[in-house]
């Protein structure tokens, strides 16, 4: 029969500790700090970005985006799951994780233009353009839209010469673009009235709270990204950490956004899933730290706990 070697709990040293006192002090300090910091920093009160603002600030870009949606060449049109099957999307090595997610929110990019315009009954030109588009064969539709996008072209930027009409639909060369110019112009006119968000989102759910289509259309244009870059919120600006204006952001996101700034992630088409996988791996390492040889002995090499409990260790060192 072996003797139980578990020491009696009364043999361990103890110290008096007032948990309620600590809780009250902590509560008061956090309360004062929260109210004080809220008074000093406040919170950002940025005006929402609207289709109307986009239409007025950069009408040419909205027209080009509308034509690109019809041509199926925008970011959302070629995104893959969950909106369509037009690409495999983000892959982790050979594993098509995004594709595995499935097309759960099917959206035809042309519907971002045709949907709102189909409900416009007070403009005969737009109504006949919608009818002409729907009557055409898919190949003809794509050719009209793609030709119009090419004809509009883009302004000179980043050392590259201007293409097409330099990004201005008013200067487009004559050609067979079918109803695409009328559809694009119709969407611009609707956006200027402020009714585009409602026309896009009202089909989402009963309360019109599903803004998926509005956000996709907005994100396909250049206006949203330009606003984000101006506020240092872009992915290559450590934007995940930042907040608009001079307000503090999310500094705890530093590691997640750090990976996006360095190779191979900064030049990878699959950066999102690769950074996610790396962070999951690091999280697992942290979770299982006590079981990982080498890492679990770090406190012996860097004995921070001995600094915190220095009085205890000082007394222990003096004992036999």
């Amino acid at each position: 029969m072996t003797r139980d070697r578990t020491p009696d709990s009364h043999d361990f040293p103890t110290r008096r500790y007032d948990l309620v006192k600590e809780f009250v002090i902590t509560l008061v300090v956090v309360l004062v700090a929260s109210l004080g910091l809220a008074a000093i920093f406040s919170s950002p009160d940025e005006k929402p970005i609207t289709m109307s603002a986009w239409a007025n600030a950069d009408p040419n870009n909205l027209v080009t985006t509308a034509a690109s949606e019809l041509a199926g060449t925008t970011t959302s049109a070629t995104y893959g799951a969950p909106y369509n099957s037009n690409s495999e999307g983000q892959k982790l090595g050979p594993i098509p994780l995004q594709k595995w997610g499935g097309v759960r929110i099917p959206i035809d990019s042309a519907d971002l233009v045709l949907g709102p315009l189909s409900n416009t009954t007070n403009d005969p030109a737009v109504s006949s353009a919608v009818a002409a588009w729907k009557a055409a064969a898919p190949e003809q539709q794509t050719k009209w839209a793609a030709d119009y996008v090419d004809a509009i072209g883009a302004a000179a930027a980043d050392g590259e010469a201007a293409t097409g009409a330099g990004g201005d639909p008013a200067n487009v060369a004559a050609g067979d673009y079918g109803p695409v110019p009328a559809l694009s112009a119709g969407l611009l006119a609707l956006a200027k009235t402020g009714g585009l968000e409602g026309a896009l989102d009202s089909a989402g759910n009963f309360y019109g709270g599903d803004t998926t289509k509005s956000l996709l259309l907005l994100a396909d244009g250049a206006y949203l990204e330009d606003q984000a870059v101006a506020q240092n919120l872009a992915g290559d600006q450590w934007g995940m950490m930042n907040e608009v204006g001079n307000a503090p952001g999310q500094p705890w996101m530093w590691l997640y956004t750090f990976w996006y700034q360095i190779k191979p992630f900064s030049t990878s088409d699959n950066a999102d899933v690769e950074v996610w996988a790396l962070m999951m791996l690091l999280t697992l390492l942290l979770m299982f730290l006590p079981f990982i040889p080498g890492l679990r002995t770090i406190p012996r090499w860097i004995p921070v706990h001995r600094l915190i409990w220095r009085n205890y260790y000082r007394r222990s060192a003096g004992r036999p």
Binding site: P13, R15, S42, M241, N242, G249, P251, I308, N311
Partner: protein, 61 residues
């Protein structure tokens, strides 16, 4: 009242660029404050002497 006090968040954000690192001054201030608090928590002694005394030591007296 609160709006008039919130002068710090007004205006465009100020950013520090250092190689690949880009950080807002507001975030940097918060990170530095957290590091200072951590170091203070390590080196500042517990409030009173008698709390450090263990029950065992009291019994030995």
């Amino acid at each position: 009242m609160m709006k008039s006090l919130s002068i710090v968040a007004e205006g465009p954000g100020r950013y520090i660029h250092w190689g690949v690192i880009q950080i807002s001054v507001a975030n940097l201030v918060i990170i530095v404050a957290m590091i200072i608090l951590f170091v203070l928590a390590l080196i500042v002694p517990f409030p009173s002497g008698h709390d450090e005394e263990t029950d065992q030591e009291r019994r030995q007296k």
